[in-house]
């Protein structure tokens, strides 16, 4: 039987959740045994090559490309998991939701005290994805099957969740893995 395939991505996040995934330490060898990594920053594959069993999403959607990637994941993954507070709730990037987008950009690129921008241009390179009016959490954009809270979720939390999904057992995490204080 072919190994289950897993894909991961970081949208409007800080890669902290991926760092936490790497924090599973030597269990990463076990994981490599258990699964085939499809698209992921871990192997630097850019497009999902085949149908995946699990998709792990870090970060919410702050631009149009995030939305496209998230939809791509939804279409190609059986089970989609929002990993971490940015994916589940918008997190730190969503703090900009309290300020209109145009004001955010003006402060960052035109009016801020340390800004040097003699041309008074907002970033408009065609390579840059367009920003959304606000930051959306993942389940506002696509249907999401599981939410793993935490900033980031601990390595043990991620490990327990992924193993349960791979083994087809219920994802019931003990309280200790879901409490943060």
């Amino acid at each position: 039987m072919a190994k289950p395939r897993i894909a991961t991505t970081s949208l409007a996040g800080c890669f902290g959740c991926h760092m936490s995934l790497l924090d599973i330490d030597e269990r990463i060898l076990q994981l490599a045994e258990l699964v085939e990594f499809d698209r992921s920053p871990i192997d630097d594959v850019k497009r999902i090559a085949g149908r995946c069993n699990i998709g792990l999403i870090e970060g919410g959607c702050c631009n149009e490309e995030n939305v496209a990637v998230l939809r791509h994941f939804r279409e190609h993954c059986d089970v989609l998991v929002s990993v971490g507070d940015c994916a589940t709730m918008g997190g730190v990037p969503a703090m900009r939701n309290l300020v209109p987008l145009s004001e955010c950009l003006r402060e960052a690129y035109l009016d801020g005290p340390t800004v040097h921008n003699p041309g008074k241009r907002l970033p408009d390179d065609p390579e840059l994805p367009l920003l959304l009016n606000r930051v959306y959490c993942c389940h506002e954009v696509v249907a999401v099957d599981y939410h793993l809270p935490g900033c980031p979720p601990s390595a043990d939390t991620l490990w327990a969740a992924v193993v349960a999904l791979l083994q087809g057992t219920p994802v019931t995490l003990p309280y200790g893995l879901l409490k943060f204080d």
């Binding site: 631009n63 149009e64 490309e65 939305v67 496209a68 939809r71 939804r74 279409e75 989609l80 987008l101 145009s102 950009l105 907002l122 970033p123 408009d124 065609p126 840059l128 367009l130 920003l131 959304l132 009016n133 606000r134 959306y136 389940h139 506002e140 954009v141 696509v142 249907a143």
Partner: protein, 615 residues
């Protein structure tokens, strides 16, 4: 701050004996005199009453009839209740706005302020507005323009009233254009015998001292027993047995106790208390006096909503006459058994003050914040004293029970709900108004009486009650079936019911005190999901999520407002689910239908000066 200004404020404080528990009255009077309670006035009041400044400011910002910004000499408050909206609110508001040359919330140079406000208790003659304290009813865009032109001529709202209403609305101390619209079950012409005219208990003619004479001739315990025998339950909506409430208050330790009559009637679509206050004030005051005798209270407070301020001179006159007749005062009826008097406490525009603990806070001169229970008001209420809060209609029933005896009262209604109920019927029907029906009357019968048989939905009990569809029109008006504080709103075949639900959520969003999270956040979340569904971007899961949010609010909110604020959604989802289901579709490719990429990226496109390649 000018010295004149400061003197005015300190004089007003002195009128109320510099008593901090009268802070609400003081702020009302400052508002009335100066057109606002601004920062300087707040400072002056806080200093005079030796209160923390924040306490005064938070009170001023809590009540919608008080403001820190200066209002005009004349304030037009147009009622934005759902019934008014169905009957032309938008057009009337546009006409006012255009004629005055201002937006709602603004004031003209010549001193006229335009505002909108929650239900003012005139749903049977909507659209309606208050011009200062004067109600103007049955408005249309034309009348709105005339009102503005006339006000500009004399700036005297009282002169807007040319035709007087019926009954005591025409009394010289009222002089109002409001109509009582008390409906008989059949006209005299249809049925000369009057056999189908329906019962008249609460609305029957009043024999002034009769009930009190009977009450004072027996012991307080016997009065309570009579009320218990009548099986009277509270008419405000919750239906708590009145006799039991009295017994608890009587049993509570302490010599100083208080009776409060809840005349805050803020539930949208209710106006029966307004009619009782106009036509049967003696019956209300007698009920309060009897309650006072039964529980051992010497003080009575009539908590009157600000919207009914036009009735105050008349009610004060009735109280004065009762004092002169010995029905109130140091020795009621000269029997040496009771000392009792009543004062009127005015509200200042806050729906939540209809909730009894919030009402007590308001009487104490505070923000109308609900209090934690226990202790219940019967133990510790107004100023910490054992307090009994009863609805206007309940107290009228008390008087009637003492007049005629509990047995004849129980002949009406059914086992769980004895007597009659006043219904305030409004909306899409031929004969909106007040109906006195026996408990146990079918809703379909009420629709028939009012001429609204083609309704597609009825909101029973106001926004905090329930919305029912035709399959439940055969249910009965009573505490155990279709419970209501009196509001019955009819919606005809052309109405969009989700707009009605949406209007109710907006109402609760405005009236929530914001203290507890389930209510403050839950209402907004419900509204956002509902708006998604109404825009055709909902999914079946959205209906479940609304139910989940609503149930959490019901369980976890601190007071009755939050516990019932989800009812418009929960009851319409339960009784009229097909209306929602017609609008939702499952997501395709797992994409949430509520997310509109084109709309979300539009601003980004404008700012970057190019089109998205993803939409």
């Amino acid at each position: 701050m000018s010295t004149d200004h400061a003197r005015t404020v300190s004089q007003i404080c002195a009128t109320y004996g510099n008593d901090a528990t009268r802070l609400l009255d003081i702020c009302r009077q400052v508002q009335g005199t100066l057109g606002c309670v601004d920062d300087d006035s707040i400072d002056a009041i806080a200093a005079t009453l030796e209160l923390p400044r924040v306490e005064v400011e938070s009170l001023v910002t809590f009540y919608s009839f008080l403001s820190k910004q200066k209002k005009g000499r004349v304030v037009i408050r147009l009622c934005n209740d759902i019934i008014d909206r169905l009957l032309g609110f938008d057009q009337v508001l546009a006409a006012f706005s255009e004629e005055l040359g201002i937006e709602p919330g603004q004031t003209t140079a010549d001193g006229i302020t335009l505002e909108t406000t929650a239900c003012i208790g005139m749903s049977d003659q909507a659209p309606a507005a208050l011009v200062n304290e004067v109600p103007v009813t049955e408005l249309n865009s034309d009348r709105a323009r005339l009102i503005v032109r006339e006000l500009r001529r004399h700036m005297d709202p009282r002169r807007l009233v040319t035709k007087l209403g019926d009954g005591n609305n025409a009394h010289e101390l009222v002089r109002s254009m409001v109509w009582n619209n008390i409906r008989r079950h059949s006209s005299a012409a249809d049925d000369p015998s009057g056999a189908t005219a329906g019962p008249r208990l609460i609305l029957s003619p009043n024999t002034r001292p009769e009930a009190m004479r009977k009450a004072l001739s027996i012991s307080p315990a016997e009065v309570i027993r009579a009320i218990k025998t009548s099986r009277l339950r509270g008419r405000g909506g919750a239906g708590f047995p009145t006799g039991m409430k009295w017994e608890f208050t009587r049993a509570a330790p302490g010599t100083r106790k208080v009776v409060i009559c809840n005349a805050d009637e803020g539930e949208p679509g209710t106006f029966k208390d307004r009619v009782l206050l106009t036509e049967r004030p003696d019956r209300i005051f007698a009920g309060m006096t009897i309650a006072g005798y039964a529980i051992g209270a010497n003080e009575g407070i009539l908590y009157l909503r600000a919207e009914y301020a036009y009735l105050v001179p008349y009610l004060e006159m009735v109280l004065r006459k009762r004092r002169e007749a010995g029905l109130l005062g140091p020795d009621v009826l000269g029997k040496g058994k009771q000392c009792f008097d009543i004062r009127i406490q005015m509200g200042a525009g806050a729906y939540v003050c209809g909730e009894e603990t919030a009402l007590i806070s308001s009487c104490e001169g505070r923000r109308g914040d609900p209090k934690n229970r226990p202790p219940f008001p019967a133990q510790r209420g107004y100023l910490g004293l054992p307090t009994c809060v009863n609805n206007v209609e309940t107290l009228c029933a008390v008087t009637k029970i003492m007049e005629e005896g509990p047995a004849s009262f129980c002949e009406h209604g059914n086992q769980q709900s004895s007597g009659t109920k006043l219904l305030s019927v409004s909306g899409d029907c031929l004969r909106p108004g007040i109906y006195e029906v026996e408990f146990g009357t079918r809703l379909s019968r009420v629709l028939e009486l009012a001429g609204g048989e083609d309704a597609i939905a009825v909101q029973v009990g106001g926004p905090s009650g329930q919305m029912v569809g035709p399959d439940r029109f055969d249910h009965n008006i009573c505490f155990d079936d279709l419970g209501t504080g009196g509001s019955v709103m009819l919606f005809g075949p052309r109405r969009n019911l989700l707009e009605v639900v949406h209007a109710f959520l907006e109402f609760f969003e405005h009236e929530s005190c914001g203290y507890c999270t389930p209510c403050r956040v839950g209402i907004v979340q419900l509204r956002l999901v509902l708006e998604r569904v109404m825009a055709g971007r909902g999914e079946p899961g959205d209906l479940d999520s609304m139910e989940r949010i609503g149930k959490t609010m019901r369980q976890a909110s601190r007071c009755g407002l939050g516990q019932t604020a989800a009812n418009p959604v929960l009851s319409s989802l339960k009784n009229l689910r097909s209306v929602y289901e017609a609008l939702v579709r499952p997501a395709e490719l797992g994409r949430r239908r509520g997310f509109d990429l084109a709309a979300a990226v539009h601003l980004g496109e404008v700012l970057a000066g190019r089109q998205s390649t993803h939409t």
